[in-house]
């Protein structure tokens, strides 16, 4: 497998079709992500973002089309190979939208240890790595708690930690800040920004337009299983007609105090003025 080469595609998708029964989630979908890139997938609910992330994580496989990971075809047969899948799982981490699904162990410590255990790391190394990461993530005090007894923000952090424990260089995040309070959101954003600067590849699905420029270098806008626009965050954010069409923003009454500066980091429709 290739080492990290900047600007070579990590993922390459060509004419990918994915269906859930009669519903087509991805319809002739082509997409490419390079090393060190951070890409935001934008789109309304049900537009295929989560499906794409599952395909990239090697959990679902398309009905038609080609998916490659670092130049190698990503198929079910390929992942059945122990050495390939060990490498792949270590390098690619997926944060599920629903933390409940991701946290299935009895304690936070066990939760973090699960991934390394499956990859058969030495036990001593596992204990040390888990303890270190618990400290780094600021969740050491939760170590012996049951994950399902935690608050929403704590759950998300534990879920993230359980992905980060393998030190993946490609992170797939499915709406990492959805349903979190502002403080927890900003903690996650800080992490995202630090990964971006450390050269990891980040692909995240999000509805959050507020912090887009900070966390993503490129945006891909989805609509009904296809990419309808791609570009720098600011270009996308200024295309209000597009955002409105794919239902990421909608006109709403919005007033400014006379003389106040426009404080918004993203465009609003000022219909109330």
């Amino acid at each position: 497998m290739n080492a990290n080469r900047p600007n070579s595609p990590v993922f390459h998708l060509e004419d990918v079709v994915f269906r859930y029964g009669a519903v087509t989630a991805l319809d002739g979908f082509s997409f490419e992500v390079n090393h060190g890139e951070s890409v935001a997938l934008l789109g309304a609910n049900g537009c295929g973002k989560s499906t794409l992330l599952r395909i990239l994580a090697g959990l679902s496989f398309p009905a038609a089309g080609r998916v490659t990971f670092c130049g190698q075809a990503l198929t079910a047969e390929r992942l059945a190979d122990a050495s390939f899948s060990t490498q792949f799982r270590r390098r690619v981490g997926l944060l599920f939208q629903n933390s409940e699904v991701q946290l299935f162990n009895a304690t936070v410590f066990d939760e973090l240890a699960f991934g390394p255990l499956q990859l058969e790391w030495p036990r001593d190394r596992i204990r040390k790595t888990v303890s270190d990461l618990l400290e780094v993530m600021g969740i050491a005090h939760l170590k012996d708690r049951a994950p399902h007894r935690l608050s929403g923000g704590e759950k998300k952090r534990v879920a993230l930690a359980s992905v980060l424990i393998l030190d993946p260089d490609i992170l797939l995040l499915d709406e990492p800040t959805a349903a979190l309070d502002p403080a927890s959101q900003s903690q996650i954003f800080d992490l995202l920004i630090s990964w971006r600067n450390s050269g990891r590849t980040v692909i995240l699905a999000t509805h959050d337009l507020d912090n887009l420029e900070d966390i993503a270098g490129r945006c891909a806008v989805f609509d009904r299983g296809r990419i309808v626009a791609e570009g720098a965050p600011l270009d996308i954010l200024h295309d209000v007609a597009l955002l409105e069409r794919i239902q990421l923003v909608r006109p709403h009454h919005h007033k400014h105090e006379p003389g106040a500066a426009q404080p918004h980091p993203h465009p609003h429709l000022h219909t109330g003025e």
Partner: protein, 633 residues
């Protein structure tokens, strides 16, 4: 026709209970709608009437006895649903308090007499009496025919249930296990008596009472004759039965009650109601053979019959209270007692139902919802227990494997111990452990001692009276003997359960669940199993939470009261959604495991180590158990 315990195999009994169940619940649901003042006195009246009528034994050909049931008149006045309940209540009181009819066979007896009897009587009466006015001669005729056919159908069903036993249930040597007589004997033996005298009795009772009611109060016949012309008896507003009307019937009941001792005049017992001892008694054997087409019964009571016949000992067996010398008075007293119990029982039932009907706004959660939230609360309680498990007490410091094995050893010791003093010492030791582990005695009291006392006490209580031995005292009124041995047996049962329960709770309270799970790995339980159990425990909460939220969301959107049928439909829908959600959840979790490197083989971290102190503690627990077993021999 009261099939005693032992004459039907447990599987037959189960089938009969199962068959009776939908009718009971259907009858209750139907009744709830009309369970106002109107039906309650009538229901208890007919339950009591049926109870008393069944005490009038008539001599039947072949030397056995039979009796009317009263299902005909009960059905005609109450309608089939209330009649099913009335006669079932009479049968319940007979079985529980007077040993007439078995406990295991209660379902069968209810099915034969209460359910089939009432439904057949209803069908025949509606068919024959259709269109006749309430006071027409034809109604009297219809009532007589309905009663006659109904009791014969009941007898035939009982005969079939008796008769299939020897064909289906035999021991290794081929001897019948339960009722020894086949269909070729049971059907003629039962039917000859019922087609003649007992059927006639039912016919006379039903027709006579209908004829009487036609003159006294025709409105009482309205329920099962809605189509009858109103000529004789104009419909009253609200259809409420006036109390004076029913009073006449109570008067009749009182008269019948007073003459119950006449019912005892007939010697002999009914076919198929012989006790297990009768099989050894030459006189009884002669009677049995005479009643059974001269086929001699087996020389010993069939094995299954012998075993099941001691299932329940009624306090006033055979309507003959032990403290009453005079048999006639005993019979009368029994009838009075039975009627009293029935009236109280029906009043209690109506209380319960009426309390529910009165507060439609304060909608009670259905049984399942209640159980569900109760379960969630209980399990969440189990999690809160982890606070205690993480505190710094004596047991908390023990290795979980030591605790598991040690607890098991101590429980074995208290099961094996045959001396009360040893059991008491073990319980005391458990309390000491609890104290050293910061477990409040109040927790033990509420969560073990009272709960166990409630359950075991109920089981142990009869032993106080039933165990033969040196008599200590007698309970006044009912005259049950209290024996020293009985008290000892009850004390043993309760103390044993309390001690074992205390140790189990200590283990649970002082050990985080995950540690127990991990200690299973030490006992070579496969890692996959441990992971699955752990995940089940974890996702059970999630699913229960989803279910509770769904229930709550539903309740929040509801205005007013739902019909039971609608409630059941919604519940079924919820269950379906829940199943779907859990399937979805499991595939998602599988994906989440895969994403983190799971490839079908689980690796778990086993980070518990036995310290020398743990071996010492294990030794101590084993030693105490061995000592307890030794001294408790």
């Amino acid at each position: 026709m009261h099939i005693p315990d032992g004459y039907l195999s447990p599987s037959t009994c189960g089938v009969m209970y199962f068959l009776a169940l939908p009718f009971w619940s259907g009858a209750l649901i139907r009744l709830k709608a009309v369970l106002s003042t109107r039906v309650v006195p009538l229901l208890s009246l007919f339950a009591a009437f049926s109870f008393v009528v069944m005490m009038f034994n008539l001599p039947l050909p072949g030397g056995t006895t039979g009796h009317a049931v009263g299902m005909g008149i009960a059905t005609i006045v109450l309608g089939p649903a209330a009649s099913i309940l009335a006669i079932s209540i009479a049968l319940l009181v007979q079985a529980l308090f007077f040993g007439d009819g078995g406990i295991s066979t209660f379902g069968a007896n209810c099915f034969n007499m209460a359910i089939a009897g009432s439904l057949v009587a209803y069908a025949v009466y509606r068919l024959v009496g259709a269109g006749a006015s309430l006071t027409a001669r034809r109604r009297v005729f219809a009532a007589g025919v309905a009663g006659y056919i109904a009791i014969n159908v009941s007898a035939l069903l009982a005969a079939i249930e008796f008769g299939i036993q020897p064909a289906l249930f035999r021991d290794a040597s081929g001897a019948p296990l339960y009722c020894p007589y086949p269909l070729s004997v049971s059907i003629p033996a039962m039917m000859i008596g019922h087609l003649t005298f007992a059927g006639l009795a039912e016919l006379i009772v039903t027709a006579g009472l209908v004829s009487y009611l036609q003159r006294a109060d025709p409105s009482l016949l309205r329920i099962t004759a809605p189509e009858a012309p109103d000529r004789d008896c104009p419909r009253e507003a609200g259809e409420a039965v006036r109390w004076p009307a029913a009073r006449k019937l109570w008067l009749i009941l009182a008269i019948v009650l007073v003459i119950t001792p006449l019912g005892i005049v007939t010697a002999g017992s009914a076919w198929g109601e012989w006790s297990a001892q009768d099989f050894e008694n030459p006189g009884a054997r002669r009677e049995m053979a005479a009643a059974s087409r001269h086929q001699a019964p087996p020389s010993h009571a069939p094995k299954g019959l012998q075993r099941l016949s001691s299932l329940w000992t009624a306090p006033i067996s055979g309507y003959a209270p032990r403290f009453v010398k005079n048999a006639y008075f005993g019979y009368f007293a029994s009838a009075m007692t039975g009627v009293g119990i029935i009236i109280l029982f029906v009043l209690f039932l109506s209380r319960v139902f009426r309390a529910r009907a009165r507060n439609p706004k304060r909608q009670r959660a259905s049984f399942l919802e209640k159980t569900m939230s109760g379960f969630i609360r209980a399990t969440q309680h189990a999690i809160f227990a982890e606070d205690l498990a993480r505190s710094d007490g004596l047991l908390q410091r023990f290795d979980p494997r030591v605790k598991l094995t040690g607890t098991l050893a101590l429980i074995v010791a208290c099961v094996a111990s045959r001396r009360l003093i040893v059991l008491a010492a073990l319980l005391l030791f458990a309390c000491l452990l609890a104290f050293l582990s910061h477990v409040p005695l109040k927790t033990l009291l509420v969560r073990v001692w009272l709960a166990v006392l409630g359950f075991t006490g109920l089981i142990a209580l009869p032993a106080v009276f039933l165990t033969p031995g040196v008599m200590l005292a007698r309970v006044p009124v009912v005259d049950w003997p209290i024996t020293v041995q009985g008290l000892r047996t009850a004390a043993f049962l309760i103390l044993r359960a309390e001690t074992a329960g205390t140790y189990s709770l200590l283990l649970i309270l002082c050990t985080p669940w995950i540690r127990v799970l991990k200690s299973l790995r030490f006992f070579r339980v496969p890692a996959l199993f441990v992971l699955i159990v752990g995940m089940t425990y974890r996702y059970l909460f999630l699913l229960l939470q989803i279910a509770e939220e769904m229930f709550e969301a539903r309740r929040a959107r509801l205005v007013g009261v739902l019909q039971p049928s609608e409630r059941r439909r919604l519940l079924a829908g919820t269950a379906g959604v829940l199943l779907d959600k859990s399937l979805q959840l499991s595939s998602e979790v599988h994906a989440a495991m895969q994403a983190r490197g799971y490839r079908g083989e689980v690796h778990l971290l086993e980070d518990i180590r036995m310290l020398p102190a743990d071996w010492l503690r294990l030794g101590a627990a084993a030693g105490i158990s061995v000592l307890a077993i030794w001294f408790g021999r």
